[in-house]
């Protein structure tokens, strides 16, 4: 057997009728990684996660969690993974604590009270521990789902858009909690539409589109290859001086964005603005953003699909 990965996908295919949800996905996530799975809606992220947890059955290919095949060795595979599904779902018959006790029991854990208490406390659910699930806010239900995925202390934790619809404060609590789990050795696989979050949290990223992985690399290398620093300029009045206008693009938020390679270029740009007598309203240098990487990779793939040019993939 090859080296054991936390998650391993080999040429996984899945069709829903005419829709090709997964078209040959190959992916390895190492133990202890904080891994991001990004892509537009319908890219196949949730299908891949469903197949990992046995909610969907792949048509072909193999999927392993901690070396256990999700079909032939499903019991061991499911013990190793905790999945937080994307949709908020709950059983309206039970309280928060009952929900967690039942979930624990499904994994064969009978005396798990201490860990359940800890989960309730760390996810700030203590005041609602004995309240019916129905009475909880959306964000709280989401945190119960996180706790449900963690009752059996799985080495691999999969979060499918865990912060959708969750307010800023809760998001911070959740991330510091998840980061703590990662530091304690848990492998985290995350999908999110908030690319800043992915950029801050994930050491490695795969981008999916139309059921395929179209980019897979460390976050740092993706940023270096596809994004750069940008000088954002807003003028009080008048157009951008011609010498700068060639490289600049209009910023949807107002003003212009000028790509810059290094700080010397910032100096040059400023000198030109001064020469042209432009009155500057605001000026900032933005660091590389994953959002740019995402947009660029998606549009490169679209171009490739139209047969326009070969895609320069990152090293």
């Amino acid at each position: 057997m090859s080296a054991r990965y936390a998650v391993e996908a080999r040429d996984v295919h899945k069709r829903y009728g005419a829709v090709r949800a997964l078209a040959g996905v190959t992916l390895e996530v190492e133990e202890g990684e904080f891994f991001g799975l990004l892509g537009p809606n319908g890219a196949g992220k949730t299908t891949l996660i469903s197949a990992l947890g046995g909610l969907a059955i792949a048509d072909s290919g193999t999927l392993r969690v901690m070396g256990h095949d999700v079909r032939s060795d499903y019991r061991a595979a499911r013990v190793c993974v905790g999945i937080v599904p994307q949709e908020i779902v709950f059983d309206p018959f039970f309280t928060v604590r009952e929900t967690l006790e039942f979930q624990s029991g499904y994994f064969g854990l009978r005396s798990n009270g201490a860990w359940i208490d800890e989960l309730i406390e760390r996810l700030a659910l203590t005041p609602k521990a004995n309240a019916n699930m129905r009475s909880l806010s959306g964000g709280m239900k989401r945190r119960v789902m996180v706790a449900q995925a963690l009752v059996h202390r799985p080495p691999v934790i999969v979060l499918d858009e865990p912060t959708a619809g969750v307010d800023v404060e809760l998001r911070q609590t959740l991330w510091s909690f998840i980061r703590g789990l990662n530091e304690a050795g848990h492998t985290i696989l995350l999908t999110t539409h908030y690319l800043e979050e992915a950029q801050q949290l994930c050491a490695r990223i795969a981008m999916m589109k139309d059921g395929r992985i179209i980019a897979l690399d460390s976050t740092a290398r993706l940023l270096a290859a596809f994004s750069g620093r940008v000088l954002r300029v807003k003028l009080l009045r008048g157009p951008l001086p011609e010498m700068l206008a060639a490289d600049a693009v209009e910023d949807p938020a107002g003003g212009w964005r000028i790509p810059i390679a290094d700080m010397a270029e910032v100096e040059r740009a400023l000198a030109r603005l001064r020469e042209a007598g432009a009155a500057i309203e605001s000026l900032e240098v933005t660091e590389p953003e994953l959002e740019q990487v995402f947009v660029k990779i998606m549009s490169l793939d679209n171009a490739r699909l139209r047969g326009e040019e070969p895609v320069p993939f990152p090293p």
Binding site: Y16, S50, G53, G54, L55, A56, I57, Y74, R75, A76, R78, V79, I83, P85, E87, V89, F90, D91, P92, F93, F94, E98, F102, Q103, S104, G105, Y106, F107, G108, Q148, A149, H152
Partner: protein
């Protein structure tokens, strides 16, 4: 069998928490049938020699309530979980298909038994029914509830919407339980309908159950038990097969 006891406990808690709806309501329905039919038909129908119509009716109504509620328990639990989406919490843990099957089955049987006992408790003050062969009565109560509990699992897994389940209930379970000889002895039917009744798998459960009380039945109880158990075995194997394949549950 690690997760099975918990899933069973959860399924029992689910119906017990709303016992007013899941136990009291069917007991009241059975009582209403008893009052109306006993009033309308007493004296006109002689089912078994030496057994009054009201007495005859009570085990039949109890069995009908057991069958319908065993079916309702597993089918409604599954459809609710599927529609609200919380079925994922049962699909994600390492529960074997047999564990899922047994948990839903035993909870359905438990609900059937509780409802059956409720019907007898409620009718005790009207007419106490004799109990000649309790072992036969218990055996048929268990097999009948198990048969319908299993059918409920299939219906719950198959249905994608509440109206599909309602169709299953209204066009299959209701007619078959109503026409299972609950209100009459099939001996009183014309020969053709007597033969048709024998094709109804629920008929054997009702008839055999009644044997436990009066020591008389339309069919030899051993034969009825063999039929009911055989039907249950076939449906169980089918259910296990469907659950192992993840039919309608795992895409």
């Amino acid at each position: 069998m690690r997760g099975f006891p918990t899933l069973l406990r959860k399924e029992l808690a689910r119906f017990w928490k709303v016992a007013f709806q899941t136990v009291a309501a069917p007991v009241v329905s059975a009582l209403l049938y008893l009052l109306v039919f006993a009033h309308a038909l007493a004296g006109r129908v002689q089912a078994f020699p030496g057994v009054s119509y009201v007495e005859f009716l009570i085990p039949g109504l109890a069995m009908m309530a057991m069958l319908q509620n065993a079916f309702a328990n597993s089918s409604s639990s599954l459809i609710q979980s599927k529609i609200t989406g919380n079925i994922v919490f049962i699909l994600l843990p390492p529960l074997a298909p047999a564990e899922v099957f047994l948990a839903y089955l035993l909870a359905a049987v438990a609900r059937g038994m509780v409802v059956g006992l409720g019907v007898f408790a409620a009718t005790l003050w009207i007419v106490p029914v004799p109990l000649h062969h309790p072992v036969w009565a218990i055996a048929f109560a268990l097999v009948g509830s198990a048969l319908l509990g299993t059918l409920g699992i299939i219906a719950g897994v198959w249905s994608e919407k509440f109206d599909q389940l309602a169709a299953f209930q209204n066009f299959l379970v209701m007619p078959l339980t109503f026409l299972a000889g609950v209100f009459y002895s099939v001996r009183t039917l014309p020969p053709f309908w007597r033969e048709v009744s024998r094709l109804n798998p629920f008929f054997y459960a009702v008839d055999g159950f009644r044997y436990g009380f009066f020591g008389q039945s339309d069919i030899e109880p051993g034969v009825s038990l063999a039929f009911a158990t055989g039907d249950f075995a076939v449906l169980s194997l089918l259910t296990l097969h469907l659950l192992s394949r993840g039919w309608k549950l795992r895409h």
